[in-house]
Amino acid sequence: MNKSIKKRKIRLTLRQKKAITGFMFILPWFTGFMVYYVRSLVLNIRFSLSKVEILQTGGYQATYTGLANYRFALLEHARFNQVLVDSLRDILIDIPFIIFFSLFMAILLNSRFKGRALVRVIFFLPILMGSGAVLRSLELATQNIIGGASAMIEELSTGTQINIGFFLDVMEELGLPTALVDYITGLVSRIFEIVRASSVQIIIFLAALQSIPNSLYECAKIEGATGYETFWKITFPMVSPLILTNVVYTIVDFFVNSEVVDLAYEVAFTNYNYGLSAAMSTISTAVICLILVIVSALITKRTFYYN
């Protein structure tokens, strides 16, 4: 009698059983998340709030110092502020351009033309060349090319009286704000990096374009819509959910390769100032998360969801 009650207590419903099986499936990730992410985040904040001394045995001793590290990073450190602001400015300037550029290229690559397969292969090459050493030499090679180009411009300007500076002056004379002219010239001078940074975004947009049902376009054609209308009424709304994905991806990707990370690494492993490095990481991550939240809130408001 007593036994049977006990047994019934242990017996689980099918739902509970399934829940347990499901949890078994995600268990490896859950353990890793707890050990490597949650624990590390907590430790990181603790490091940032204390002065960390590395012991001979390889361990460490943390003494609580309050916000001293944050204060030092923000108010006294020679480069941190500038590096952080510069990276943020670059991110904010480049994002709109990267998004428009990748959407534009995706639409181009989505149309049919000869050698499309080859062009696609070329456009996704930058993903393969993301590693530090390769990137550094690529930059060097890029400088060679840009150097060649600017040398050419100088020669041209003496020979044919074409002067880039003159055009810049004309643009300013026309009443374009200086900030806009700076923006344009900045973009042009960084075109290599921007093109290289937008390949994953192109893939994502391409996939989105191909998932638009063809019947929508046929319908628009029958109704007599022009190409312009078709783009704004069909293509753009249908890919708009992916704009958020791409913006988030761009921000994260940009930040991973930014100088802030290098600086934090340098402070930690060259100067062995763990506390300061942890404070830097925390500040920059907090700023990035804030930007992510604001940007996604802004974009989600304007996004059209098909389903």
Partner: protein, 329 residues
Amino acid sequence: MNIRNARVYYRKIIEKVNDVTFRSRTVNRLKSLLLGIFKFVIIVGMSYIILGPVINIVCNAFFSPSDVYNPSVFMIPLNPTLENFRRAFVRLDYWSTLGYTMIYIISLTLIQILICSMVGYGFSRFDFPFKKLLFGCVIVTIVLPAHVIMLPIYQHFRMWDVFGIIRSIRGEPINLLSQQTPMYLMTILGTGLRSGLYIYIFRQFFRGLPKEIEEAALIDGAGTWHTYFRIMLRNAMPAAISVAVFSMVWQYNDMFYARLFSIPTSKNLTFRLSTIQATIEFVDQIKDPMISQLAVYAGITLVLLPILIIYFVLQKYFVEGIERSGIVG
């Protein structure tokens, strides 16, 4: 040819010009021609921007020292030489390093596919408490920059211990740094390089598969794990291939974790490439950076080659995989 005939011709021409269909056809043809030229120019230009530096590197790899300081040499060397490649081969210890690297990235990729598909399956097919919150955590691991967890992880593997067991047996924790074990451990626990993204891809893919497959398997008497390994994993092949390509490429290029865990350069090709210039300057006594740079260019060509081959073989899945695996959906 008399005047009357000319007048007839004239009238015919006027008729043709006034003919709406003819006019719109010509305009359309002109339009599409212009558009085609515009497209062509943009695509060729962008392709050059991407390929330019690569072509530059490959060409430079064949330069001999005399070409470097010859101002009339551009792209095509006057005295092409394989000396740079020979030097890079020796200093990279190419075959041995490549072998180790390949074993490393392929085994990691297999683990990634197994673990991430499992986790993705768990998230897509089962209901358990806090599921949404936990999946939110997966997204957080995608978005969170890795350097915020860098120091604690470094310390963790510097003195690796599980609940103090190892300390009680050996008296001191193990130092797992300067080997590849940390990366394996993190990957097995589903938090390796960009694992969050792969989990997301697999979860979206499994959500798109019909539930009837599993119901049929259940009725035929297969257990949950049996169903997963024998049926679902096979069906997830397209997603697995795209994850495999991504994982191989990114793992191959990864410098962050390689540097953090100080993985020996003899076992990681890209990491070794970053030190090749210093090695050449020191060992070969080539102090001129312009000339030692040539060997670096050759080294880059050698390092890019395997990944290019993988990419060209699998490039079809690279795009299609994303389209099908539903990052988009």
